[in-house]
Amino acid sequence: MTRKAKFLLGGGMILAALAYLIYSGVSQSMVFFVTPSELQAQPVPGKAYRLGGMVVPGSLRWQPGSLDLSFTLSDGKASVPVRHKGTPPDLFAEGRGAVVEGTWTREGYFKSSLILAKHSEEYKAPHGDEAQAGYRELLKTLKDQAADGKR
């Protein structure tokens, strides 16, 4: 292969990869999720959505036996009931943000297949523990985990 052909081939591959990424980026990622209001405005049963909102306090139901999880996502204006099977990520909790992937069903609830916990840009020490040095926190966590492991 000549130098020029190699160059064109390599360049073409990079360009194609970039074009694909930008294309899929523009069509999917610009709006990573829809809000409950947007979903309620025109819900299409069977269509795949990412739905994002706050987990309404008091709406969370969890059956450890069957791994059935249900909760309501709200954006302050509209709310959507969500059902999920499986354990959520650690950061998932009432009053916090979450994004769920799944479909809208004819029965009037959102069937979720994946839960993503949304995190805020706030970083602070556990309440009241501001004075405790970081290494103490770390050692305590490691000790607790070792104790959990033994049990």
Partner: protein
């Protein structure tokens, strides 16, 4: 000079480790996982700096055609790719326990992946063109265009609806971070910048040797 930079960087990195693990408290919500931030955030800020230098070097080379500018762009580009890779890996390790996924195509993650690919392509382009002068010219054009992506990556979380949280540093909003966590982050940022300066000075002298070899 290079030697001193190396020792300074090593010292700052040790200080950064002690600050990140020993001084800063764990985060109230995330726990100890949040400490990944001390690598993740300095990595991408260093990558921004590296690619900004690629832009400077590219512009300088296109205007003056002096090899020194091309040398700067080349060295900074290589190191920037390393730090962008480190950002992607550390972010992924953080994302699994926090979000619940290793990867997702939101605007921040996608634009960072594109940033990585642009500069991998930039380095590939350099190695593929055998005529050095010509390769430097092509690369300079990519280095110029690629820089457009830096602000896109940084502001993606403000411009579009993403899973990734908005920035805590370099943001028009008021900072929402405890002073102890912020100071640990700052020390690590300084350490990474020193490490970058050390790598850069080392790579520049290597490139000079390469040029002598090819001359």
């Amino acid at each position: 000079m290079t030697r001193w930079l190396g020792w300074l960087a090593a010292l700052a990195l040790v200080a950064g480790l002690l600050m990140g693990f020993g001084y800063a408290p764990k985060d109230a919500v995330q726990g100890n996982v949040q400490r990944i931030m001390y690598i993740h955030v300095p990595s991408i800020l260093t990558a921004y700096l590296a690619f900004a230098l690629v832009l400077v070097g590219s512009l300088g080379f296109l205007f003056s055609r002096r090899t020194a500018w091309d040398r700067l762009a080349h060295a900074a580009g290589e190191i920037g790719v390393i730090f962008t890779g480190l950002t992607l890996v550390s972010g992924s390790i953080w994302g699994k326990p926090t979000w619940g996924t290793w990867w997702t195509w939101d605007a921040r993650l996608t634009s960072t992946a594109i940033l990585f690919l642009i500069y991998v392509g930039y380095l590939l382009l350099r190695s593929m063109v055998e005529d050095r002068e010509q390769g430097a010219r092509y690369a300079a054009v990519v280095g110029l265009v690629g820089a457009v992506n830096i602000p896109i990556v940084h502001f993606s979380v403000l411009w579009w609806r993403t899973l990734h949280q908005p920035p805590t540093l370099l943001t028009p909003e008021r900072a929402t971070i405890s002073p102890s966590i912020a100071s640990a982050l700052l020390v690590n940022w300084v350490a990474f910048t020193l490490l970058f300066a050390y790598f850069l000075s080392k790579r520049l002298s290597l490139r000079r040797l390469e040029e002598e070899l090819h001359a």
